[in-house]
């Protein structure tokens, strides 16, 4: 019985493996492993602001009774804030039982990228700012930046803020 279950889980993982949800933030196209994505909310609903949090944490939203925080990926990457429009989406990701909504400019598509087509980002020591990038995927002539979700959600900075306060 448990073996069958394991197999099912493996299969599910298999079908998800190598698939990425791509979206636009600014001019760049990013990819995120599909296994982290639980849903995509089209359009921006009412966000309740929260005091005393970093600017990129826009607040909390009600997702069918569950309260989840949302962060603006533009601001997270220290880019300029953009106005939200019809194409703005919230991608809800679930990592280690932590649900967070990512506000992105536009959701593109789900694509497969083979492991072989993913190259590591340039070395950190060269001064390249790549904290949130796990790798760079090549699709034909296009390039997608693959996000490291864990780092994206890392609360280190939040804690640092607390510390300063």
């Amino acid at each position: 019985m448990s073996e069958i279950l394991d197999e099912a889980v493996l299969q599910e993982e298999d079908t998800q493996k190598g698939k990425f949800l791509t979206f636009l933030v600014g001019k760049e196209e990013y990819g995120i492993e599909i296994k982290y994505v639980t849903e995509i909310i089209g359009g921006i609903q009412a966000i309740t602001e929260i005091p005393d949090v970093p600017e990129y944490v826009k607040g909390i939203i009600n997702l069918r009774g569950k309260i989840i925080p949302v962060m603006d990926v533009n601001l997270r990457f220290n880019k300029e804030a953009r106005d939200y429009n019809d194409r703005t989406c919230i991608i809800v990701i679930d990592i280690d039982e932590l649900s967070v909504g990512l506000i992105v400019d536009n959701v593109a598509e789900v694509i497969s990228i083979a492991d072989a087509d993913i190259v590591p980002p340039p070395d950190v020591r060269s001064g390249f700012h790549n904290r949130y990038i796990k790798g760079i995927g090549k699709i034909g002539s296009e390039v997608k930046l693959i996000l490291d979700c864990q780092r994206l959600l890392s609360t280190e900075e939040l804690e640092n803020l607390d510390y300063i306060n």
Partner: protein, 688 residues
């Protein structure tokens, strides 16, 4: 949540059942220890519980637990069968309680997904030795007894007792090993018949295997190893031989007389065997039996166990329902409709039902404090024994109910406080006698409902707190800055709750590490409660814990600040009014204050605190809300009050973490998320 649900159902059942049994056992022991005598029923109960635990643990392959349970079972088996006279009841209670602790500890490990790897062999050895000891003692006394009272016959210690046989000098013990004719089938039934016939002629009958009727496997056993019977009778060997041989299908019979010593061992062996062999089939019966016991015994009700996660989910769903109901009843589309009388009638009914549902769900989550309180009996017993103080725990109002989530936070603080009361508060019996107090000290543990709060009061009649010593210590540690004359007694006593304060010079096993009291405070504050300390020198100390009934739903006032809506807990609102700009006093630092009926309150503008834009800035335009808690009152300046509403409290997402001034969040009728203001933090930001 998922983790606990995915725990193997077997394991979960094991943990749950055994914890319940242990709890029951502990209470039984404590209740009977004082009487210094164990009734048959109690011995049986202990025996049965240990047996059940042993069986379950063996099945789950927790050797440590099963061998310990086995040892205790052996001990009680002996006590049950032989009623030894020379027994130290408190020692036996100690043994059992130690055993319970060990098993509880192991089960605790299992609960946290660890291995139950504790080694119970020291306990087992200890119990074994004690068993030998009482056997020795009772044999000695039995010899004396028997010498004195031989004509009156043997002491009654029948397993399958029949008292028909006349007491004679010629009683002999026999051991018979019977083999049935191969292929005769139904060996177990035949064996049972045999025993039944024997009952007319003999007494103290034991046989291997013992579960001949209940267990079909016994057929196999009898075929292979024969059917062994031990019994005592006044009949001569020949007569017995004849009796047996009258039975059909008996292939061979080996009958011999046994010596006393051998008899006893065999008898024990036979009975142990019973236990070993009947395990799988009888366990269920026993569980049922114990269940029945629970039912008939004291105030227990028929209960089912439900995963708390499920209740939380139910609670959430009801919260959702409340919200969606509001969304339907106040739907903007309705404004365009002309006639809505029937609709409003229907929604009123709807709301009424939902409110009732909400009440029921809330009441499901309410748990009486009795479990938590009863646990303290054990603590008091152990401590008074160790510290050689005579302490009696008086429990009042244990039926008071508190939300399940809160109860989990209460056990540790109460335990700390009781430890402190016994260790530091209560004097030694000699000293009490010299003070003219009764030598037996009393510690009261009381719970009561008052308004929306529950009070838990721990009171002792000991020495009370030493004000001077506390002051001295508090100053030495820099916990008090004010001059003495400005301090009230309450303030002085409350300093014992601060971190880093401990009046006990020595560290004892039970308390005095100087971490206790501030942990108590922290735990209680975590569930939104407060701690009050009061004391009368020479008469004792009273510590009151004030805790809210529930955390899940609160009455809130919706207040508007800029574009945001916040919830203020109704319980903390004292009054609200429009203030005139001339009433505001501003000090040189720019702090605003407001004079209300001769008292001066600081003013906190929420829009400043939460950095909100586009809020009303002029005092005259907005509204002032005075909020208060135990440590003081302040005026909050908000744009407007929007109305009262019951809200379902939800924790802020972990990702956000803790935010000063915000205690939690909730969902409003329109589905928007909304923050609940932490009044205590606004009044006194340094706390928490």
């Amino acid at each position: 949540m998922d983790k606990s649900l995915s725990k193997e159902p077997m394991l979960e059942m094991f943990i749950f059942e055994n914890l319940q049994l242990l709890e029951q056992l502990e209470q039984t022991i404590l209740a009977h220890e004082k009487e210094r005598c164990l009734e048959n029923a109690v011995i049986n109960e202990i025996f049965r519980i240990m047996h059940t635990i042993k069986g379950a643990a063996a099945m789950m392959m927790y050797d440590g637990i099963s061998s310990l349970a086995h040892a205790i079972e052996d001990l009680f088996f002996y006590i049950r069968e032989f009623h030894p006279d020379e027994m130290d009841y408190s020692k036996i209670c100690d043994i059992v309680l130690e055993g319970i602790d060990f098993i509880k500890n192991e089960i605790g490990k299992l609960e946290q997904d660890q291995e139950a790897d504790g080694d119970s062999s020291p306990f087992v050895e200890n119990i074994g030795q004690y068993l030998l000891q009482i056997k020795e003692a009772s044999r000695n006394s039995k010899l004396i007894n028997e010498a004195a009272a031989r004509p009156a016959g043997h002491r009654k210690k029948f397993y399958i007792s029949t008292s028909k046989s006349p007491p004679t000098e010629s009683i002999k013990r026999y051991h018979a090993l019977i083999y049935f004719t191969p292929g005769c089938e139904m060996e177990n039934i035949r064996a049972f018949n045999l025993v039944h016939k024997l009952k007319d002629q003999a007494e103290q009958i034991d046989y291997i295997p013992a579960d001949i009727i209940e267990n079909n496997d016994s057929v196999e056993f009898i075929r292979e190893n024969g059917f062994a019977v031990i019994f005592s009778t006044h009949l001569q060997q020949e007569a017995i031989n004849e009796l047996f041989m009258k039975e059909a299908f008996i292939d061979s019979l080996d009958l011999r007389v046994m010596e006393d010593e051998e008899w006893e061992i065999e008898q024990l062996r036979a009975r142990n065997q019973i236990v070993l062999e009947e395990e799988p089939s009888v366990r269920n019966n026993e569980v049922r039996e114990i269940g029945a016991n629970l039912h008939s015994g004291s105030t227990r009700q028929s209960l089912i166990s439900v995963n708390v996660d499920k209740l939380d989910r139910l609670m959430d769903m009801v919260g959702e329902l409340v919200i969606s109901e509001t969304m339907v009843a106040f739907n903007p589309d309705l404004r365009t409709a002309a006639k809505l009388d029937n609709f409003h009638k229907a929604t009123r009914q709807h709301r009424k039902i939902i409110n009732e549902l909400q009440d029921i769900v809330m009441s499901i989550r309410m748990v009486p404090l009795s479990m938590t309180f009863q646990k303290m009996n054990r603590l008091v017993r152990d401590m008074s024994k160790k510290l050689k103080k005579n302490v009696e725990l008086v429990i009042i109002g244990e039926e008071t109910e508190v939300d399940k989530n809160i109860i989990e936070h209460l056990s540790d603080p109460i335990m700390h406080l009781i430890r402190n009361a016994i260790d530091h508060g209560v004097e030694s019996p000699e000293k009490r006698a010299s003070l003219g107090k009764s030598p037996a000290a009393r510690v009261y543990l009381e719970a009561k409902n008052e308004g929306g709060d529950v009070y838990i009061i721990i009171r002792d009649d000991g020495a009370g707190l030493n004000k001077e010593k506390i002051l001295e210590r508090a100053r030495a540690r820099g916990l008090i800055q004010k001059p003495d004359s400005n301090l009230s007694d309450g303030e002085i006593y409350s300093t014992i709750l601060l971190p880093g304060f401990s009046t006990c010079e020595e560290i004892s096993e039970f308390s005095g590490r100087g971490v206790g009291m501030d942990v108590v405070l922290k735990n209680i504050e975590e569930v939104g409660g407060t701690v009050l300390v009061d004391s009368t020198p020479g008469q004792g100390t009273t510590i009151s814990l004030k805790i809210p009934l529930t955390l899940a739903i609160i009455n809130g006032m919706r207040v508007k600040v800029g574009n945001s809506i916040y919830i203020l807990p109704i319980t903390s609102i004292k009054e609200s009014f429009k203030a005139k700009p001339d009433n505001i006093i501003v000090d040189p630092d720019g702090n605003e204050m407001l004079m209300v009926r001769g008292e001066c309150y600081p003013v906190l503008r929420l829009h400043q605190k939460f950095q909100l834009k586009s809020a009303l800035k002029k005092i005259a335009e907005g509204i002032i809300v005075i909020v208060q808690n135990d440590s003081g009152s302040i005026c909050l300046f908000v744009d407007a009050l929007l109305g009262e509403q019951q809200v379902v409290v939800k924790a802020l997402p972990k990702f956000i973490g803790k935010i000063a001034g915000i205690s939690a969040c909730t969902l409003l009728g329109d589905g928007r998320a909304c923050l609940i203001i932490d009044v205590a933090n606004l009044i006194n930001p340094s706390k928490g």
